[in-house]
Symmetry: C2
Subunit: 465 residues, 2 copies
């Protein structure tokens, strides 16, 4: 019998789980599309399957809307209305709301919040973290580390490390010398997580604090087998039940797609006459493009391949079951960069990953698949021909525009207009949560983001099996 | 027994419904928030209940995502990716996709599509249409009329009637003299709908084609009792079972709220230095405002009051049950006008209306409540303090910005940046569909907009009661 949300307390669930003999492995695969709001999903649906088509996502039978709550860093008694990946992923990983930039630490008192991975490891589950970002990036980090600022990704980034402009990382209180836990990469090296796969090798190549070893050497000393290619990853998974740290790129992994020639969205160019008066002259819009393979993708292991390897290894490492978080990171990163093909190609990676998860669940019935986002993002689908074309004057978007020729032969126009800076802002929209049939009774039609933590705990720790 | 989606054909359903003795009335209340995508819903949630609060909408237990499909007017073999209310409401009302601007007519051949209201009247249900727009506006019109262009709202708008700029309405083929059905208001006057409530009296005050009567006089001659105030509406509902045409304003009904002083979103004002280089100088953002009552609202009957009257009258007019479409129109119209308080106050009207529907359903079990939108809209919640504030340079949105002081004491920033014209564009995002418990087995987690037609038909016509 499964207990629905909001019934007995977690503590009694844990006792129950520990006292009850496990007969069937129980798994949760949590897939996070970073920045994947409904605009991004619709863009991908239109491009990949046509306006009348559907994504694998769309076949999941249970849907909820997730409200994202963020505390104000300057006054944590108040909320703000747009999150970043650090605070939103912290809500998922710890069940607690916090302020932007925080990696599983509280907004006001900078206290550590215990990620769900620690509880699950203690309860006997194996745990894996897979991402197309650096494994030290905010979304994966909150599941493995506690630190005051997301930018403190390695030992060299802890004190007055320049982020850009006048912006400096500052996690001095998190230094090991000050009684802290150190940088994010160092905490990953020491963590009990079974499988960590993604980008970010540069954050492990540096010397660890107060040590002769690099962070990578510390991770290996702590029992991680290290791999740098998809081939070696597969060999390792086929030949051992080791804990695995796989880092396949220095930082964020390359994305699969780009627009023809690599162009990002561009500003429409109004004629001089139109700059004099909006009813006059005309405007030159960016030439429509198609998506093409990113030549920089090389032999980067796909997210689905990493996910398959993680599932196989995690299944070996606990007969009780596993928790796997998979992040498709560059939906967000490519939206910041105003690159819809990058976003769509990355969402395709999420789709392939979901198919891997669905295939596994088809043979392992007690597998809850959750797919969600962490926050909204900048891209909007706008008309290629304005609603107001009938006026006979040039009507065009401020900000940046890209027009994609879709495989069904139409033009999909998308704008990026949250700011004029070198990277777009997130948005505050509520975001989707989808689940397979195992989510029935666990996933309501509306929830707070921090409730996702309880759903996973209820599913894995509340069972009487 | 209720039959799930996609089982037997409608025709056999109709026969079944006619042959089976009705024992309990069966009702559908379809609430359409025009332009109500998840951004608009989140804005309203944050303002009305706080970031940790929930709307009445959020309590509905069943949720689907709706893909909106629009045909290209110039080449109906192709799709376009952003709808207008005419084609999207036509999909709901007729189950068929069409091109922008069309009122229940096909994209290619301009053929009439039979609205669901006609089928339901034939099957013995009473039917009502309630809106805060003019009753001749696109969303209500598709349920009562067939015409080639949405702007042909009255007999004077049929041929070369100026819309704006170089834009002219042209529905010459729909003239009665040409064998057509006439303008939208004339078709409403002749329709068999039981209750029609909203704005738009100016479209009924003009002389009907080839008649000595005004359109209103034609409606009265056809059996509508006419009312112009909420008080007289209530009196009529209390004293008769007449068909009712209630028109409470000349065109769109006034909205309930505005921003302090009536200001719309405004463009940020960068300093001269910032105009020289984006890393220099500073920017003046519009002053934060609060929502306040719109002084022009007067004694306009609220949407909830019109809905209550319609439910009462429709219940009297058929023992078999009713279909009621209620549109909260100005979520869209105020988003076009870049007025978030107008949008939020209108969404509050939708919330009150939903509460009326829920109260009715609590006492009338066989009542399916559906809440959906027709298409996405321009407003986006963006950070009040940019994600990139750490750079120490001014980062601000292109387009227009309004910053609202919310009742919980935070600032919610919203931008409008789909174009630079006098009204914003719609967006192509998929939109929500929510249902009460009666929707279980009828509303899937993902559907095409035109499937909503089938859901209503299945619910009302597929019953063995």
């Amino acid at each position: 019998m499964r207990l629905p949300i909001g019934l007995p307390k977690f503590t009694s669930f844990v006792l129950l789980a520990l006292l009850t003999p496990a007969t069937v492995a129980q798994n949760v695969i949590l897939i996070i599309g970073d920045g994947m709001d409904d605009q991004q999903i619709t863009m991908a649906r239109n491009y990949l399957h046509g306006a009348k088509g559907q994504l694998a996502l769309d076949t999941l039978p249970i849907r909820g809307a997730v409200q994202v709550v963020t505390l104000d860093h300057d006054d944590p008694s108040k909320v703000i209305y747009v999150a970043d990946s650090a605070n939103s992923a912290t809500a998922i990983a710890t069940g607690k709301i916090t302020s932007r930039g925080r990696i599983s630490t509280t907004a006001d008192t900078d206290s550590d919040l215990q990620p769900i991975t620690v509880d699950l490891k203690q309860a006997g589950y194996s745990v894996g973290i897979v991402t197309t970002a650096s494994v030290t990036d905010a979304t994966p980090a909150v599941f493995m580390a506690n630190v005051s600022q997301r930018f403190c990704e390695n030992p060299e980034m802890m004190v007055q490390a320049k982020i850009g402009g006048n912006w400096y990382a500052n996690c001095e209180d998190d230094l090991i010398a000050k009684g802290g836990k150190g940088s994010i990469s160092e905490q990953i090296a020491r963590s009990s997580v079974d499988v960590v796969l993604g980008g970010g090798s540069k954050h492990f190549a540096v010397q660890a604090e107060a040590s002769d070893l690099t962070v990578l050497e510390q991770a290996q000393a702590a029992g991680f087998s290290y791999v740098e290619s998809g081939e070696v990853l597969d060999q390792l998974v086929n030949s051992s039940d080791d804990r695995i740290l796989g880092l396949f790129s220095p930082s964020t992994m390359p994305v699969r797609w780009q627009a023809s020639g690599g162009v990002a969205a561009e500003e429409p160019e109004p004629s001089l006459l139109n700059q004099v008066h909006e009813y006059l002259g005309d405007v030159t819009l960016p030439t429509p493009v198609q998506c093409e393979p990113n030549p920089g993708y090389g032999n980067t292991p796909p997210l689905a391949r990493m996910t398959q390897a993680a599932i196989t290894q995690l299944s070996k490492r606990s007969s009780q079951g596993f928790f796997l978080m998979v992040e498709s990171a560059s939906i967000d990163k490519q939206s910041h960069a105003r690159r819809p093909c990058g976003q769509i190609g990355e969402l395709l990676q999420l789709e392939e990953t979901l198919q891997i998860a669905l295939n596994f669940a088809a043979n392992h019935g007690n597998t809850l698949i959750l797919v969600t986002a962490d926050h909204g993002q900048a891209a909007q689908i706008i008309p290629n021909n304005s609603l107001f074309n009938g006026y006979g004057i040039p009507v065009y978007t401020p900000g940046r525009l890209q027009r994609l020729i879709t495989p069904e032969g139409s033009i999909m126009a998308m704008n990026y207009a949250t700011n004029e800076f070198q990277a777009e802002e997130h948005t505050g929209v509520n975001i989707p949560l989808l689940a397979n049939e195992q989510g029935r009774g666990f996933v309501p039609s509306f929830l707070m983001q921090s409730d996702i933590y309880g759903i996973i705990k209820n599913y894995l720790l509340a069972e009487t099996r």
